[in-house]
Amino acid sequence: MKTGIFICHCGHNIKHTVDVKRLSEYFKKYPQVTVSEDYPFVCSEPGQDMISESIGKYGLDRVIIASCAPSLHGELFKDLLRKKDLNPFLLRRVSIREHCSWVGDDIEENTEKAKRLILSGLYGAAHYVPLEEKQVEVDKSALVVGGGVSGLSAALFLSKMGMQVYLVEKEAQLGGRVRELKSVWPTRMNGAKIIEEMENELKGRKNVEIFASTKITNFEGFFGNYQATLDTPEGERRITIGGAVVSIGFAPFDPVIKPELQYGKDPRVVTTIDLERAGDDLKLPDNPRIAILHCIGSRDEQIGKPYCSRICCINALRVGESIKEKYSDSYVESFYMDVRAHPRGGEEFFEDTQEKGVLFTRANIGEIIPTPSGLVLRGEDTLLGEAFEREFDMAVLSVGMSPPEDSKEMATLFKISLDKDKFFLEAHIKLRPFDTAVKGIFIAGSCSGPKDAEESINHGRAAALKLYGFLNLGYAFVDPFISFVDSKRCSGCRMCEQACVAKAIKYDEEKRVVHVEEAACMGCGLCNSTCPSSAISLRGYFDSIIDDEISALLEAI
């Protein structure tokens, strides 16, 4: 066995608290170690060259790179091995930065720990065997779930890039919530008009198929080759796609669960959405007294909505402005905790609204008491420290965004995680904001947290771009980490079958043993650890590897 060990300094990151020279010297004494080097940045081009050259020069058959966490530069180092015709699964990454140098300050203790970590890698790698990496063809087509602005923009982008697009919308009409808006801030364009433009462009394209009034009943497969079953008005339809963008939007907050606001009980209490839907005649006097309440269904822990919905301050300003424009003799008072007019131009819009005569009072209304002559709002002007009871003809609740009603159902279907507020959870809030944990499944728009129309459109395009990047390669590698069964040891107890989340384990009634369906296996290892007779192994993670790695860590302690 010819093993090469390459220890990275990561500039000062590792070198500062780990004696890298001592480490590279130390491992030279092991007979299976052919070369042991340390280098300032092994991920740099000269660093990579050094590794490539060593593989060729010494004919290495194992490569150990002790550096940052394996999730970083994973594919980079694998490619290095591939280019040298060495099986990429003979590479062992050891994290001596996140797991060692960043944790402690004591150089002696850190060096000792790094030594054990590398030793454990060395012992484990001794058991490695080349694994066959499957390259599969990728279907250059995409499923877009949800026909709101984010879904429409994703579909348009993918279609223009030449992908076959299937757009699925559960409602009869495309356009989601934006279609209902009379004037979309800041352009003041009619929402239905924006949707129509996008819809017409999409409908004119040959590579787009739109399914309205359609539900997705099943979704299975793997990256590049997913199958979806659609329940369309014309009957069931099965499609094959390379990946998907899920953009199922949001549900407006329903203030019925805040009984002290009287919504649903008194018709004079309305939401910003009701106001969009209402006709021109609001049945108000010529000099109406209107109250606008911010933060309804947002920033409220009593109802499990601690987050800011981000759109409702602008909506509240729009309501104030439109009432002032329509009724010049109106008295309009906006009750806020903070006015978060964060989008570009928002603060100026706030100022405009004030100039038009909308009054702003820093108060979170405690309760609304309906009386025959009007609605009495009880609150406190917190800047004056004075409690008040004021009467209005109408109270407008600026409602926030809640997760869509079917978020749980869709999350299960597409194996997407939910955050604590039940919105879709991205793989990483900053580095992978459109990705999910499942390859080829992306999320876009307000289903991953409150967004306005502009942000949703951009989000949809960005998710589509990421999916396009994956699919356009035309191929993908399938991880070879799948389970297999030693049928001689299998007792047929079927515990693994229950443990398997991917439903990849099948029981053979005749032979009374189980086997693994390789295409379905996700390589999670649950079956492996469940099996009482150690009959199932996971390629790349044999028990012998793990046992030896642990014994290296504990050696002489």
Partner: protein, 364 residues
């Protein structure tokens, strides 16, 4: 102290929803938001102010940051109780409760005196098969106006074929008001004494008369494993399944006042109304401020035992004026404290206040 009662003073954003929900705001010097602010900064507070709180709970139910302002008030009061800065009348109520296990200082031996007017015997809970306890508590045991409530409820439950018993002299004050006055040490003693009695006699179920008792037994006694209900829940069910049927007529306009501890704080709105609407010829009216926005009668949080400094139009009076405006003849409620506070202004206006059990007994 139970975890769910822990306050979160530091997280307050001073939005004022508490003040906007508070029945004391505006007309008294009490500003709950300001007190939370002062607690955040450990500023000096006016000693008279925290005692206005009626512990109706509206602020805590609605606070968007879950600060629990009404619990902050209890914390402020606790400090004052420790330092002895407490109104004399409240001091007296605490001493009485310590000695006689009731705030009025009546003899503990007379705790079951209300039974004298009954024409049947109620067994001790240990002698019952169901181990169902009718928890009477102080005001119903001793106050001449409220002693009819346990008697009436006992009659109704008996008519509905329900077996139950009492603890008699072994029962101590539930401690709901004592904890809210800020005397947590005494509250814990009462709690321990009652829990020991429940355990000794194997109590499985408790029917309470006052929503205040129900609240504390349900939410602040910890996990007792005992089913706690208010009698209106039991009676509404009896009416629904036909165990009792009110036969007489009650041809009056009745307006129902939601007690804070029954309604807002424990979500029991429909059962008392269901009882009232089951009565023949009874016309049920509603206040503008009903259910979740019901106006507090100012009987809770220790206010039953002392008078605050400021003179202002009491909520009970506002309530009676509202009732008169709706042309109600009778104000019905389901809490002894509400009965006590509403009765004086009602009499002045020529209206009557009735605890629901009183109306039901009349027509049974």
């Amino acid at each position: 102290m139970l975890e769910q009662l822990a306050t979160r003073v530091t997280t307050c954003i001073q939005c004022g929803r508490c003040t906007g929900s508070c029945p004391e705001s505006g007309k008294t010097p009490f500003n709950v938001r300001m007190l939370v602010r002062k607690k955040q900064f450990r500023s000096v507070i006016d000693e008279a102010v925290p005692w206005y709180c009626t512990s109706c709970g509206a602020c805590t139910i609605r606070c968007p940051r879950d600060v629990k302002p009404s619990e902050v008030i209890i914390e402020l009061r606790s400090k004052m109780v420790e330092d002895g800065d407490i109104p004399v009348a409240l001091q007296k109520a605490l001493e009485n409760t310590f000695v006689q296990k009731n705030p009025w200082g009546k003899s503990r031996n007379k705790r079951a005196a209300w039974m004298e007017k009954l024409d049947f015997e109620i067994p001790h809970v240990s002698e019952t098969e169901s181990k169902r306890l009718l928890f009477v508590c102080c005001i119903q045991a001793y106050d001449p106006r409220c002693m009819v409530i346990p008697a009436n409820v006992a009659k109704i439950l008996k008519a509905g074929g329900m077996e139950f018993g009492i603890l008699g002299e072994e029962e101590a004050c539930c401690g709901n008001e004592i904890r809210r006055i800020g005397e947590s040490g005494l509250f814990e003693e009462l709690q321990e004494e009652n829990l020991a009695a429940f355990k000794e006699h194997g109590v499985k179920e408790i029917v309470t008369l006052s929503p205040h008792c129900m609240n504390v037994l349900k939410k602040e006694y910890g996990d007792t494993g005992i089913k706690i209900s208010h009698y209106t829940e039991i009676v509404a069910e009896m009416i629904a399944n036909g165990a009792i049927t009110p036969r007489g007529s009650y041809g009056k306009k009745v307006i129902y006042h939601d007690p804070c501890f029954l309604g807002k704080q424990n979500g029991i709105f429909d059962e008392p109304r269901a009882i009232l609407t089951s009565v023949k010829d009874l016309e049920l009216l509603e206040f503008s401020r009903s259910r979740e926005v019901s106006l507090c009668c100012e009987g809770g949080g220790g206010r039953m035992f002392f008078e605050v400094e400021a003179t202002y139009q009491r909520n009970a009076e506002v309530r009676i004026l509202d009732a008169a405006e709706k042309e109600a003849e009778v104000i019905a409620t389901a809490c002894p404290f509400c009965v006590m506070t509403l009765e004086d202004p009602a009499t002045e206006k020529g209206l009557v206040v009735r605890e629901i059990s009183e109306i039901l007994t009349e027509v049974l």
